[in-house]
Amino acid sequence: MKKKGLLLTIMVLLTLALLAAGCGGEKDSKDTAASGSGGGDTIKIGFLGATTGDQADFGSKTLAGMKMAAEDLNKEGGVLGKKIEIVEEDHGSKLSEGVNVVQKLINRDKVVAIVGDPTTGITKAVAPIAESSHVVLLSAGAVGANVVNTEDGKLREYVYRNTLLDAVAAPAVVKYLAEELGWKKVAIVTTKDLDYSVGLTKIFKKALADNGIEVVTEETIMDKDRNFAATVTAIKPHQPDGIVFTGYYTAGGLFMKEVKKQGLDINMVGGDGLLGSTLWEMGGEAVNGSMVYCGFEADPSMAQGKTKDFIERYSEANNGEMPNMFVAQGYDAVMMLADAIKAANSDDPVKFKEEIKKLKNWQGVSGTITIRENHEPLKSPVYLLEVVEGENGQQFKVKAAIPVEG
């Protein structure tokens, strides 16, 4: 009986603490919201993404980049004399919560812009809300179709993104594969439960056909698969020159491990979903020679200027961990917004969104960005990176910088 009483007390206390915390949080946001909307001393930028759940890594990394940018800006006195404040919310990769988060950021926290979501699905789902609420939504990761425009092709005025678009990069890379590396036959591996991968496969297939590369076999896997023995066995008899892998790095690394294990001496090429040290943490030596494209010079030996400085500062602050694409794009997203606000001399989204449209050859840590007529970003050049054995273990090395044009 005693035990039960104790547990009960603990539970009641816990609940009270939660409620108190909940109310406290509300109060905070209300206070600042009041001052914020009245042209107070902060500019609020919301973060939309998952910091819990199995896709939390994208969200957490984007958030880390955003915070770093906010710090950098605030150190120099903020924007228009106001501090940048990042309001962070987690949706655990649940669509319904993502919508709740956006509503909360806009209506309770009164943010002027939202950075996120790193994935296409949720960005697409919340884009109409941002549009109708006149709040800028800048995705630092969504690469799929119908983000900055609606399904029927209408341009959204408040929705932008700063990522390298696969539709731009993949054809350039395929051209390189055909012309420089002489690939003639490839196998495509699609991660069927990832919208990113399904979309990228479509783009690759068109580009391959345009460049006269034959797709000898198409295989599908699931992102959570960890055992690719059967799939690789199926590819083996086709003897392709290489593998186009459109999924994420965990599966990619493990897939290559199996490829090499089964004695196939070929490499894979893929999009920025493969960009991360996880690739060799999973694949080991098997990923040496694998190629990844991105708009970001993630090669510390080659990186220059802003990017070099960014990489150094980030890894210093994070026990030597290299920033990945999401960190860089999260950082750039906040910086882009800041520049637009400065240019408009106003933190009113109605005004500064016009300045985002005008960004041309904007130098970010994740590459050079131009916002085109169709609101889509153009990053040039596209870096084709290769995994090589470096001084401190495996790393990405720039194999080619392919210029692209809109």
Binding site: L18, D90, Q103, R108, A125, P128, K192, D193, D195
Partner: protein, 299 residues
């Protein structure tokens, strides 16, 4: 009405509350199946998904009027329930539970692989039709239907099946027919809720309808109190709003959510309102003098 609400509530509240309404409709459907009739169903999200995708495909790809699609979503879910129910309802207890769970997963995998659902790319371009007023009107309709059902001869037969299926059969109740009917009606409401969900969130993705969602529905019902309509509404509200309340805990919120589930079960094993008969509580005297028609709330 909607305009009025929007003027006094901010869209965040409206969004959260509307979603809560949608979940209440689905949870009340599950309550009829599990709470009233005593059949385990660990795959409720599948019927929710059938309704969501069914209705969304009709409005997006075939330009169906929304209300027609709403009804069609419910009917498709009920049909799916009948198809799986005929063979599966012979099983009882955990076996029925695991088969429904398996069916739920199969539906999700099928939706992921079909072209018409958009697969992993999801289904977008759905028009916003589910207003808070519409959703809560339907919540009221659902509550009324459930209340009327539970207090009818039909509901009495279902409770009898839950309490003792052999005795119920011996009293002349065709238990398989009733089980199928209850299952279909419960899933109909899941389907309607799904259709509302689709036209509220405007984007569908198969990963949102896995067994985690099914268990979420089950938790709404069990935590509120099996068989108790107010209990289910309370349970759904607590569990839907808890993650919103727990936001301030950021990364710890799902951890605490899990712990709360364990603690709530330990201290209220019959659910928050399980074993509390509100009718008896409120109408204590009246109940004694008047012919009562309530069947007991289960526990």
């Amino acid at each position: 009405m909607s305009a009025f609400l929007e003027s006094i509530l901010d869209p965040y509240y409206i969004q959260v509350l509307t979603l809560l309404g949608v979940y209440i409709i689905a949870a009340l459907g599950l309550n009829l199946i599990t709470g009233v009739t005593g059949m385990f169903s660990f795959g409720h999200a599948a019927y929710f998904a059938v309704g969501a995708y069914g209705a969304a495909i009709l409005t997006v790809k075939y330009q169906f009027p929304f209300y027609g699609a709403l009804l069609a979503g419910g009917i498709m879910a009920a049909l799916a329930a009948v198809i799986i129910g005929f063979p599966a309802l012979r099983l009882t207890g955990d076996y029925l539970g695991i088969v429904t769970l398996g069916f739920g997963e199969i539906i999700r995998v099928v939706f992921l692989n079909l072209d018409i659902t958009g697969g992993a790319l999801g289904l977008a371009g759905i028009a916003k039709e589910s207003s808070i007023v519409l959703v809560y009107t339907l919540v009221l309709v659902t509550i009324y239907v459930m209340y009327a059902l539970q207090n009818s001869r039909f509901g009495r037969a279902l409770v009898a099946i839950r309490e003792d299926d052999i005795a119920a059969e011996a009293m002349g109740i065709n238990i398989s027919a009733y089980k199928i009917k209850a299952f279909a009606i419960g899933c109909f409401f899941a389907g309607v809720a799904g259709a509302l969900y689709a036209h509220l969130l405007l984007f569908l993705n198969p990963t949102d309808f896995g067994f985690a969602k099914s268990f979420e529905f089950l938790c709404f019902v069990v935590l509120g109190g099996l068989g108790s309509i107010p209990g289910v509404i309370l349970g759904t509200s607590v569990l839907t709003l808890a993650p919103e309340f727990l936001r301030s805990l950021s990364d710890y919120r799902m951890l605490i959510y899990g712990a709360l589930m364990v603690l709530m079960m330990i201290f209220r094993p019959n659910g928050l309102l399980g074993g509390v008969d509100l009718q008896r509580l409120v109408f204590k005297n009246k109940y004694k003098s008047q012919a009562g028609r309530s069947t007991a709330a289960g526990g």
